[in-house]
Symmetry: C3
Subunit: 208 residues, 3 copies
């Protein structure tokens, strides 16, 4: 497993999540520094938690690229977000791309660090969702985890398929592409068709 393509994927995930952070900032009408800060926290948040949990050096400390990328993305969003018809819809689709990349990447880093397959899947899910959780908590929006349509399940599909394929001996890149595609397609179906899983319902007459 070569580290360099993973590092490039990291940057793609950072940029996409930074864009969702900047879009959240635009919805809260923050100033440019607020844009950059929320973009940076959202962009590096998931990967930071992953690195902390795995005992790795946090990926953006020693090199300036990830943070600089977040600032550039925040600036671009600050000046172009008004061109978009629905910024929240764009945020959700960008988030879908981000979780697809990060659920695989988080699981891959965990396997590298000799995590158990189950822990690798959970770590992929945490890496994929934590940036968005941080964004929603800081921006005071309802957590994306609580939305009715499928979200966490998409990261489970992606991380689970990737880890399963790697465990069965499939090489890294086909497994990674299959996992990311599975995550994105499940989430895209949820966004476009409103896919849901059966949810828990208390029986009638019972207090919730």
């Amino acid at each position: 497993m070569d580290a360099t393509p993973l590092a490039v994927l990291d940057l793609v995930g950072v940029a996409v999540f930074a864009a969702t952070g900047a879009l959240a900032a635009s919805r809260r009408q923050l100033d440019p520094v607020g844009f950059a800060f929320l973009a940076a926290l959202t962009g590096v948040g998931g990967g930071t938690v992953r690195d902390l949990l795995l005992g790795r050096t946090v990926f953006w400390i020693a090199q300036p690229t990830p943070v600089a990328l977040c600032i550039a993305v925040a600036a671009a969003v600050f000046f172009t977000a008004h061109l978009v018809e629905s910024r929240y819809r764009l945020l959700l689709w960008a988030d879908a791309v981000g979780i697809a990349g990060y659920c695989v990447l988080g699981a891959a880093r965990a396997l590298e660090a000799a995590a158990s397959p189950l822990a690798a899947i959970l770590l992929g899910m945490v890496t994929a969702t934590f940036g968005g959780i941080l964004r929603d908590v800081l921006a005071g929006e309802p957590s994306v985890l609580m939305r009715k349509e499928i979200y966490v399940t998409a990261t489970l599909a992606g991380a689970g398929l990737f880890v399963g394929l790697v465990e069965f001996g499939v090489p890294f890149w086909p497994a990674a592409l299959a996992g990311a595609a599975a995550c994105f397609l499940v989430r895209a179906g949820a966004l476009h068709f409103g896919w849901t899983l059966p949810t828990y319902r208390s029986r009638p007459g019972r207090p919730v």
Copy 2:
């Protein structure tokens, strides 16, 4: 201090907090994957923060048991929660068992890592409360810390008694049992009798 019984206690705490996470998921009518994810984050959350603060390897990375346990608990709650008269009341009592175990366990791990007694007590309190804080933030419920009846005080009683006894030379298990019992009894009294401490009140006529 033998590590194995501590590891078993860890699993009990994980299971009980996972149950509170799943109960919170049932109140938000999440789907099964949402159940499992919220159960897992709540179940391993407190111990994860403890391990990060102490510079230990995070306990659920290398072995699959804690995460698998959370998933099993989430599945059990998904299919049985409707049998319970008041799920929130059950959540609060399960939480009481969880904080009793974790306030001692967090303090014990901290003493193992040569933390100062005061830091060990705070770490026990953080370990006990952080899973619930994470659950409440993610589920969008008011934080359990802000409730009027005694909560944090129970974890202080448990962690403080345990650390105090250990400092005075009492062996590990009697000290641990006394600490956990103290925490549970204080919290049970708060839940059953509505125990409170005198709270801060601004003087009349003063703006809050």
Copy 3:
């Protein structure tokens, strides 16, 4: 760069942020243990995140002083807060002192740990703001980051000026004083005059 004055500054930042946590506790009418716990989490929160991100030993684990200081501050606030005309205003000014110290301190620790200048600036900003974020999330108050008047920008000014001066060869203390003064003055202007930066505004007729 001598570690001892930095450690003293750490304690000043801890005390000031602990006071803001205790003031938030007074606004939520918590009991004395809730005061101490919220004061301790707010007081050590920013520095804890900084130490975790840098892979350093968390500063309050091995020595009892920071936690003891938080408890003392919480007790003092519990018995004197009613003397203050507006506790929220005092909280904001104490917070301004705290971020001024911590934005420099976080950046200094990061440079010590060979972080890139850009990462050091971001780390200074994270160290300065994270205690307040934790306080606001736990106390259920709207995040201070979302306020209209300048806040994050002040920490950027402080951390940026400090890192810039150090990079240009200015000795530590003049650079640190200049950075802390810049942060405090910018934030004080925002508090006193309501300074804001131009914020993002969607074009008229566009949905937000």
